[in-house]
Structure formats: C-alpha cells, structure tokens
C-alpha cells in the first residue's frame, strides 16, 4: 500500500522531484570522491554563500524566461551597480543604509530601460538586453577607470557577503554549535508542519483532493529531516550567513508572488499564451516592464552581494553572471518555450550548478573539464525536462 502510493506520487511528480534527486546524487558523488570534505559544514556554508549572487539572478531570470524573454544585461549591470555602491560608500561617504536602497532602485530603473524597446516597441529582448550588456560593461570600465579595484571598508556592507547572524552567548550547552541557527531551523520546521496541517484541514473541509495520509506524513518527515540536516550542518560552522538569509527571503518572496498572487498568475498566463492573456484583460506590456524591473532590482542585489563578498568592486565583476543565471534556470526546469518554471526550481538549479563547481574544485579538476561537465549537466537537465514533460500529463 505504502509503496504503491509512493510510486504513484513519484511518478506523477517526477519533474518536480527530479531536481532534488539530481542534487542529492551530485552531493553523494562529491562526498565520496572528496572523502567527505564536500559535505563538511565549512564547505556547505561556503557553497551556499557563493551561490547567493547567482541564485538571486536566477530567481529574476525565471520570470523573464517564463514570459518568453531573456535578459543578457544583468551580469554587467550587477558588476556596474556593485561599483557604484563602492563609489557611493568610499568616495561620496554615503551611509550604507542609504546606499543599498539607492542601488536597488537604480537597478529597477535599469531594468525598466532594458524593457522599453521590448515592451513598447516590440524589439526582441535578446537584442535590447545585448545592448545593455555592452553598455553596462562599458559603464563598469568607465567608473573604475581612474581607480581600478575599489576596496570597500564599510564593515556593515561587507558583512552582507561575509558575516553570519549573531548567536546567543555560550551558556555551556551545545558548545561549538550555532544555537540561533538551530533554533531558527526548528521554528521553520514547526511552522512548516503547522501550515501543512492547516491547509490540509481546510482542503478536507471543502472536500478537495489531498495526498493520502501515509504520503502526507512522509512528505512532512522528509522536508523536516532535510531542513533539520541543513541547519545542523550550517550550525556546525558559523551558522546562517547573511547572504543565505537574503537569498532565502528573496526566494520565499518570489515563490509567494508567483504561486499565490494575481500578478504571478498573470505572468504565467502571458508565458503560456500572450494573445490569450491580452484578450483576457491582462496588460502584457505593463507586466513585461514589471518583470524586467524586478530583474534589474535583483541584478542590483546580486551586485551588492558580490561586491560585499569580495569587499571590493573590480573591473571584471559580473562577467558571465547572466549565463550562470540562465543555466541555473534551465537546470531548474524553466522552459524556454515560456509559461513553465518555478523560482524554487531555479534556486535549486543554482545550487546544483555551484555544487558542480565546488565539488570539482575540491577534486582539483582542471577548469577546462569543469566547463565541459557543467555543459553536459545543463543539456542532460533540459533533456530530462523535455522527456518528462510529454509524459507528465
């Protein structure tokens, strides 16, 4: 009975769970090949911090690809805005609490500018964002021309990319363990279980279809164990980093917007069939602006995370970020045909992508082979996606 249910649920949701299975397999392989170094607290913590700036881009790129567009400009936009942030902090002496919102707003504006030729004039986004790619690359070189690399000395700013959330003072129990992280993990598990139970109860009240009880419990146990494991691993090092906090907030917010709100549904409708969406009273133009605006803002955030992590703005910051983000989104199950893809998928895709880099670095694999492997994984992920899509009806 139990296995029959499990088989059925897995079969029906192979696409959604495929990503997690892939991540799990990759992690196991690297853990074996690196004698466990890969799964160490320190490495996982590093891995997640490195994923941060790609992950936020991948989240924004998900929406862009869902509405059948692409944004190539975001890599150098992130680099450029990171440099602007550095200049504002170091040369203009602006406080960090002013610089961050300013950079985010600038990013959103830049996104709207990229969207203009596409949304207003119907020019392919590949072209308009390629123009942005060139322009921001030039702009980045321009603002760093006099100084070269700009070292950032603001501690608060640098903490975003390097700092960890504070812990309560050592009171003797669980030494060496980040207790606040552990506590947050526990709270997250409790909230998750509570939320699932409530929504199940409500669905049953309405007489709607729900998972069979054994599968429901399995899901609760699985997710709880997963979250528990991750928090345990993280709390064994420095705890939750600010980068991870920021990324989790972004992913949660965008997941909520895309799955629960009217705007989110309209975005997926446009991706599914722009003509039908327009005739259903949805303004394709306005939402195209909105999606590119959000992409620009997330590019700004990515630039902040990266500059903060390096504690400096460099002349090459942002190089190929856009490609990493696009690859992450495709690995995460976003369809190039539009209308299909989840931000959580892209987030996992980004982690998979970074895991490959991290694992192969630990194995001392030559960078040339690393690119080949990443390309192979990308194409394998997309083939898997296409193969399961035609079945998953």
């Amino acid at each position: 009975m139990f296995f029959k249910h499990l088989q059925k649920v897995l079969k029906e949701n192979i696409r959604e769970y495929g990503m997690f299975i892939a991540l799990f397999v990759i992690m196991v392989i690297f853990t074996i090949t690196t004698d466990g170094i890969f799964i160490s607290s320190r490495n996982i913590s590093n891995l997640l911090n490195q994923t941060g700036y790609t992950a936020v881009l991948a989240v924004g790129m998900t929406l862009v690809i869902v509405i059948r567009h692409i944004d190539l400009s975001v890599g150098f936009l992130a680099g450029f805005l990171g440099a602007v942030a550095a200049i504002a902090l170091e040369f203009w002496g602006l406080p960090v609490y002013l610089v961050i919102p300013m950079i985010l707003v600038l990013g959103a504006l830049a996104g709207l500018v990229t969207a203009f030729p596409t949304a207003q004039l119907g020019i392919p986004s590949f072209v308009s964002s390629l123009a942005g790619w060139l322009i921001y690359r030039g702009a980045l070189l321009l603002v760093t021309a006099g100084t070269g690399t700009i070292i950032i000395t603001d501690d608060a700013f640098n903490a975003i990319g390097n700092g960890y959330i504070p812990d309560i003072p050592d009171i003797g129990i669980l030494p060496e363990i980040h207790k606040v992280t552990l506590l947050l993990g526990l709270i997250a598990i409790v909230l998750f279980i509570f939320n699932e139970l409530r929504s199940r109860k409500k669905k049953l009240e309405y007489d709607f279809e729900v998972l069979p009880m054994d599968m429901f419990i399995l899901k609760l146990v699985f997710v709880s164990v997963l979250v528990g494991l991750i928090t345990w691993v993280l709390s064994g090092y420095n705890g939750l980093s600010w980068t991870v906090v920021v990324v989790l907030i972004v992913v949660a917010l965008y997941h909520f917007i895309t799955t629960q709100t009217v705007v989110g549904r309209h975005i997926y409708a446009i991706g599914g069939n722009p003509d039908a969406a327009e005739l259903s009273g949805i303004s394709v133009k306005n939402l195209t602006f909105a999606v590119f605006g959000s992409m620009g803002m997330l590019a700004a955030l990515s630039g902040i995370l990266f500059a903060s992590r390096l504690q400096s703005a460099t002349t090459t910051a942002g190089t190929l970020f856009e490609m990493d983000a696009i690859a992450s989104a495709y690995i995460g199950g976003v369809s190039a045909a539009g209308g299909v893809g989840q931000v959580t998928g892209s987030f996992i895709g980004a982690i998979v992508y970074m895991s490959l880099t991290s694992g192969m670095n630990l194995m001392n694999v030559d960078i040339a082979y690393q690119y080949v492997v990443r390309g192979a994984v990308l194409v394998a992920a997309v083939i898997f996606d296409v193969a399961t899509r035609s079945r998953g009806k």
Binding site: V262, G272, D275, L279, S280
Partner: protein
C-alpha cells in the same frame, strides 16, 4: 475542348471525427475556367489540398487522373512537377525579398547548380511580369507592393513553371474592384494560352462572369456541375444548390426574451488597419438588446472578427472612428481589460490560438480573466478558486477527469466550454461569441446552444458571429449580414432565409 484534363474520382477524406470529403467527383475540361463554390466548410479547400498533394496519397481514398493517368502525389513538389500550381488566399511570398527572387524561389536559375545567375533571373522575371501585365521593377521588394500586385506576382511565380492547371483559392477576397477586374482579365488571357484554371470563390457575381463550368460542393459532397454554355449558371440557382439542405433538428427550441433596453450599440464605426494599410470596416451600425441573440452572418474574411476585436479594447491597434454605447452611455475601451470591466466579453474564434492557455489547467483557465474576484489584496484564494472552477464544471458540464487537467488534453467541445466558463465568470452583460461551435461535435454544439438560451433568459445579450447559416437561423433573434467590411443587411429572424443571407453575403 471536351477532353477532361483532370478527373478526381470518388474522393473521400476523413479527419478525426469529421468526414471532410464524402465520395466527391470532380472533372475539369482542358482550357476552361472551372469555378468551385460552396459554403465555408463545404470541402473546397480540402479537395484542392488533396489535388495539390498537401494531403498526400494514401491519406484519402479515390483516384486522381491527369490526362487519363493515375497520379499519386506524396507532396506538393510532386503535383508541381506534374504541372499543377496552387495559389492560396494567404500569399506565400517572402515580403523582404524582391519580386524576381520570389518568382524564382525554389527554382533558382543556375548553370552549375551552385551559383545563381541573377542577370538571367531578372531578364526572365521581366518576361513573366509582362505576361501577367504587371508593370513594376523586378527589384521592388514584395512588402512595397499592394495586395493586388502581390497576387499577380504569385501568378507569375506559378506560370514560369509551365503550369497546366492553375488553382486559385479566393484570389479576389482581399482585392478591391479594379484589382479584381484585372485579375479576372488575366485569367481570361491565360485561358487563351491554354492554361486550365480552377477558381474557388465566394463572390457569385464574379463566378457568373468568368466561369465556363461551376461545381457546387455542400457538406463534403458534390451537389452538381453546371455549364455556362448551356445557360445553367445564375445566382439563384447557385445559392439554391449551395444552401439547399434542410435545417436539421439540432437546435434547442427557442423562446424570445428580448427587452426594449438596448445593451450595446455601435454607431458609424470605421476601422482602419495601419499594418495592412487598408480599411477593414466601413460605417458599421448595429445594436443588441437585453436578452437578445444577434447573429452576425457573413463569409470568412468579411470583417466580423475585426469588428468584435475593435470594440473589445482593440488589442491589434486598429485606427477606429465612431461611437460605441453601452447601456446608452458612450464608452471607449483602450484595452480588453476596460471592456471586461464594463461587462463585455469576447470569446475568440480560435480557441487554441488566442482563447486558452493550453499548458495550464481547467481551473486556471476559467479564473484567468477575473482573478481579482477570488483574491484578497492581490493574493489568490486557492480554495475559492477550486470551488469556482467546480461550479462552472458542473453548470457547463465540462467533461474532464479533474479541474487540474491541462486543457490541451480535453476535446474540442470541452475546451470550448472552458472558454465559455472563463467568460461567464467575468459576469458580462454583453457576450460576443465568435464561431462558438467551430470544430466541435453535434452533441457539444447542442449543449452550447442550450447554455446560450439560458444566458439570454437571465438577461444577457449575445452577439453571435457565425459562418454557418443553419446556426445563424437556428439561434438568432435578429440577423445582420456583414459583407466586405460593411453591414449588407439586417432582418428579424422571421424574415431570414439561407438564400437571402447568402445573397447579401456574396454581394460585394
């Protein structure tokens, strides 16, 4: 003169669920202009697709004989090699290429099989242009020519390949009177030169003017073949043969619920398409009352869909001029969203193209146009959504295993019901239905008609665009006939007959 150059014998072609051609026989004499007439969906285009190899040998039953020899075309290139050229209503020219490039596209002149001899090409193109009496520079790009001239380029393209049979599918549908006259003259000249011509046309006057022989198709069957020389061709005769079927009993009985109150009125409405560069609609006046079903009859391409779109927020960016009144108040919709908000809904004729989001499920499609209704502060209430969708699933009897089924997996009739559900959920006062029963089976048709009756009983006004005359007659309270972008006539249902409507619809 009497040898048949082409004979199609007992052609039967079935599509899933529909018999498009049922034992059709068709005989064309060498050197004549043979017209093929019939209502939309009578099977004319399908027959020509069988002839040209679009429907390849083996997908139909029956024989094609060319000069007495059995033909088995596997594709268009086979029929082209045999000397058959077909020119579709949608021109197959490449707008960004020049006239001469288009004429020789796919048959480029080359002596070594690798490089194109452009000088020779231009010279030959000039000869062809002279033959079709088109006085343009062959280097002109196609996009810079009017539709009439483009049509001539298509013919030149066909003729240079030494065609024996030239097929034209509604060549004059998009042309003005002068261009049409030119084209007909050209066909007469080609006849002199021995080209046999098959012409599909809805314009009966034109058919009478030019045809040597006319074959009438109806519901996928040959009705009769008429001969001009024996004086058998006249408009009433043609119309009688085209529509001469009994209206079967597939319409639910109707009561009339019409109130005096005018729900929607359109006055002196003119629509110009800046992309095509021509006027689509001219001086349109019509209205629909509360509780009334108004039928907009006419042939495909008459401008009815454009009329609906131009009123419904004008998403294609036409230039419009004139007034629309909703419940007596003048309105102007800048976007479909405005129209929906004001209580006007438009169910598109192409449900897969611009009606449904095929990759989404039944529930998401039904709620799409009115998500605000089931959301609080921008957040969709999933439970209310499921309830809403189930409600429409029950009331419209949408047959689906679950409301979470993707609509691409539903049958045509059920897809149409999902479309209908979507528009009923916006709770409109005026519902425009564009070909509401196209491509769905008889049972589903009946159900949709029943739903329409229920809606007008509840006080809704329905504008029904339909190319099927029986449907117009079976469902409308009042009929407008649209022809060539104009309202050609209006009549209460009591006075409407198939003949009358067809007469107005074909009168350009």
């Amino acid at each position: 003169m009497n040898t048949p150059i082409l004979e199609m014998k007992n052609i039967t072609k079935e599509f899933p669920g529909v018999k498009a051609l049922d034992n059709v026989s068709f005989r064309v004499t060498e050197g004549e202009i043979h017209c093929l007439v019939g209502e939309n969906g009578a099977g004319k285009s399908t027959l020509m697709k069988v002839l040209s190899g679009v429907h390849s040998h083996g997908t139909y039953t029956g024989d094609i004989l060319l000069n007495g020899q059995l033909q088995e075309y596997k594709g268009i290139s086979d029929s082209e090699d045999a000397g058959i050229a077909i020119i579709y209503q949608e021109l197959a020219l490449i707008p960004e290429m020049s006239v001469y490039e288009n004429i020789f596209l796919g048959h480029e002149i080359s002596s070594n099989g690798f490089t194109v001899e452009w000088n020779e090409t231009i010279k030959r193109a000039n000869e062809m242009l002279k033959r079709v009496r088109l006085d343009v520079n062959p280097s002109t790009k196609i996009k810079d020519l009017g539709v009439g001239k483009q049509q001539l380029v298509e013919i030149a393209k066909a003729l240079h390949r030494d065609v024996k049979i030239l097929i034209l599918d509604e060549p004059t549908a998009a042309l003005n009177e002068d261009d049409s006259e030119n084209l007909l003259n050209l066909l007469r000249e080609q006849r002199e030169q021995g080209v046999t011509c098959i012409l599909i046309s809805h314009k009966l006057k034109e058919v009478i003017e030019i045809a040597d022989t006319v074959t009438v198709l109806r519901d996928g069957q040959t009705v009769c073949t008429l001969n001009a020389a024996e004086g058998e061709i006249s408009e009433p005769v043609l119309i009688k043969h085209m529509v001469g079927r009994e209206i079967d009993n597939i319409y639910p009985s109707r009561e009339h619920y019409i109130a005096e109150h005018v729900a929607l009125e359109v006055k002196d409405w003119n629509v110009y398409d800046p992309q095509l560069g021509r006027e689509l609609l001219k001086d349109i006046n019509f209205n629909v009352k509360k509780g009334e079903i108004v039928g907009l009859a006419g042939l495909m391409g008459a401008g009815r869909t454009e009329l609906a779109l131009s009123i419904f927020g004008n998403p294609d960016g036409y230039h419009t001029h004139g007034d629309v009144f909703l419940d007596g108040a003048r309105v102007s919709f800048g976007h479909p969203a405005d129209a929906i908000k004001a209580g006007v809904a438009y169910l598109t004729e192409d449900r897969k193209g611009n009606g449904l989001i095929l990759i989404q499920d039944v529930k998401q499609n039904i709620t799409l146009a009115n998500l605000r209704e089931i959301s609080k502060r921008g957040v969709v209430d999933n439970n209310t959504e499921i309830k809403t969708a189930n409600q429409y699933r029950t009331s419209l009897d949408i047959r689906t295993p679950s409301i979470e089924q993707k609509v691409q997996n539903l049958s045509g009739g059920n897809q149409q019901k999902v479309c209908l559900g979507k528009w009923l959920f916006v709770k409109p006062n005026v519902l425009i239905l564009d070909e509401p029963t196209r491509g769905i089976d008889v049972g589903a048709k009946y159900e949709i008609y029943t739903i329409m009756n229920r809606l007008v009983k509840e006080g809704m006004s329905i504008i029904m665009i339909s190319s099927e005359l029986p449907e117009i007659l079976g469902m409308s309270d009042r009929v407008y006939v649209v022809s060539g972008g104009k309202i050609a006539g209006e009549m209460p249902i009591g006075e409407a007959t198939q003949e009358k409507i067809m007469d107005l619809a074909t009168d350009y």
